[in-house]
Amino acid sequence: MSEDNAAFRAEISGWMQDNLQGEYQCLRHRGGPGDEDAHPELRKQWEQHLARARWTCVGWPEQYGGRNLTPAQQVIFHEEYARAGGPGRVGHLGETLIGPTLIALGSEEQKQRFLPGIVAGTQYWCQGYSEPNAGSDLGNVQTKARQDEAGGDWIVDGQKVWTSLAHESQWVFVLARCEPGSKGNKGLIFLLMPLDQPGIEVRPIKQLTGTSEFSEVFFDGARARNADVVGAPGAGWKIAMALLGFERGLSTLGQQAHFEHELQLVCAAAKANGAARNPMLRNRIAQAWMGLKAMRYNAMRMLATSPDGTVDGAADNAGLIAKYYWSNWHRDFGKLAADVLGFDADIASTEPALLRLQQVFFFSRADTIYAGTNEIQLNIIAERGLGMPKEARPAN
């Protein structure tokens, strides 16, 4: 590691230590998956606190308020943020998905209007992709958008589902069908829409955890301005896919630091309750540690940029397996955490560390479902990674 990077690491680590204090102390290690409803207001304040120190959107170009950090530096940032117990970022969909998409494909006006709020930690976004009949099969989107000939606005009718953090957000990006009768990935439009309008209703979905990180979003004559179409009407699929491309990014290393923290909690729990003396659980804990290590090195392969420009398929392969690997690792880990707790796993714990492990057990069930189910991931790996034949899709 170069000296610069070591200094940079120290800078973040020091800043986190100095700032994740006082009123923010209670946010340490909170707000991750399954814990999204922890202190939402305080976490929004924390976003703004981060922003004031320019620790949001650190990989963005400086002209848009970022720091233009190199990938290696971003890795360091995410690692140190997570290692310090930095809370789950309420603004992450803005920072990691819609922001980069607008920078790449948005109009100048869109950039000027939206990017500052994302950088400042004052504008929060959610995602309107999945529908009841367009989950794994995203090309089956049925939400309709038609243009109001008078003002040029787009009028949207339909339903989105599995929208995370909709009740904490002001904006939603929506994939809708703007060409009646079109099928699959043709005739779609990508719209930016304010949530607080008469035509939109957000209904939280009660999950198996008893909490509601996800919502249904109903559109009934909701409006998007014509200036808030990203790309061309009819070419929304391209924007939607570009956005998903940003999903697999650097934050994966931050995620792994969260996992590492969870593994430490399991080890502590095992030592405390005697499970650490159980050879079968020891074996599984060690296997979890190994999987986490493989995940980390896999992420580094995925993010590798060859020093002299040579390219091989390794980064692609590492990228292809990443989601399937971490999500199944985490689901197995959740089960391990519950087994380490044993009888006590079933009783909601009053100790935050143990309650956290109980949440992981339940919430990790979603990991293998959202953002491409296991089944879709395996299809993609087989077809793109191994060149195997595509599934036959019957004629409609």
Binding site: L208, K335, G342, I347, Q358, F361, T368, E391, R393
Partner: protein
Amino acid sequence: MDFALNSDQTMIRDTAAAFLADASSSAAVRAAMAGASGFDAKVWQTLAQELAWCATAIPEEYEGLGLACFETVLLAEQCGRFLLCAPYFATACLSVPVLLETGNAAACGRYLPQIAGGTLTATTALSATGLDWQPGKVAAAAIRQDDHYLLSGAYRQVIDAATAGLLLLPARLPGGETALFAVSATAAGLSATTHDTFDRTRRTGAVKLDQVRVDAGDMLACGEALDKSMQRACAGAAIALAAEQVGGAQACLDMTLAYIAERKQFGRSIASFQAIKHRCAEMMVRIEAARSAVHGAARQAATRPGDADLTLEAACAKALASDAYFYCAQESIQLHGGVGFTWEYDPHLHFKRAQAGGHWLGSSDELRERVAANLLGAI
């Protein structure tokens, strides 16, 4: 040993299924889950008094039906399938075997007829901390005074702790031996609380004893005799729990098949995807193997095998059923996709119950170690 069901057994199974399909529908289960007691008193009354389910394995001399462990297993399987919320398991599958195995005729005569008649529910504490028989981990103490004992101590996990009418509680005697006592829920000094559990289909709670007075006649057994009895009773309870788990696993498979037959993605029913078919087939394999193990164990148990053999039969049934249940519950959530993760659909109810029960009466790893010790000697 012929493994076919006779017509009485088929009838018991089918009648139970028909009753529970209504009395323990998804809506009924959710209502029971939300209630304070954790079960519907009216359903329980029908089941325990009219249908006499608790009487099944109670001998006729105690006003029961005198049927075998196998019939209990048939009922338990349906209870698990329909997620029945009721004191059935703790009463009929756990405490009845404990009363019968400890063999205190006076106590049996006092309590079993009430249980058979459906007017008394019961539960049993197995250790200070959890739900398996660990006499070394009993934290309560009993001191004899004249014609009674005074009991003090605590049990952290007891099924139906706050609703059972009769509690069978182990306590250590001054000499170091463990004894088991039958204690009324109304005894002065006994207090029970209900835990905030994730599995809401079966309540567990803590029991505290503060100088509780128990008649000497309610000391059921002690020492080695108790340990031996409890191992047999726990084996019987484990077989019944395993039967529940097989029923639960079957429900997971059935609801998954129903869902994926309707659910379309990419223009096809997702049931038509081969990978999905193979995974459902794998569920069926594990369920049928576990069912075979459970039915075999129940039929063996009816022949009164030796202690060691009974323990191994129960270990095999419970480990296979418990693992199959968790596997199927997990697959059920996964194959339901997004809705599998919602409160509204039922897979999570099974998932939580599978995890909770997986640690009762021995985790699968503990049960395998019991088998290993038998095959290979202690480690």
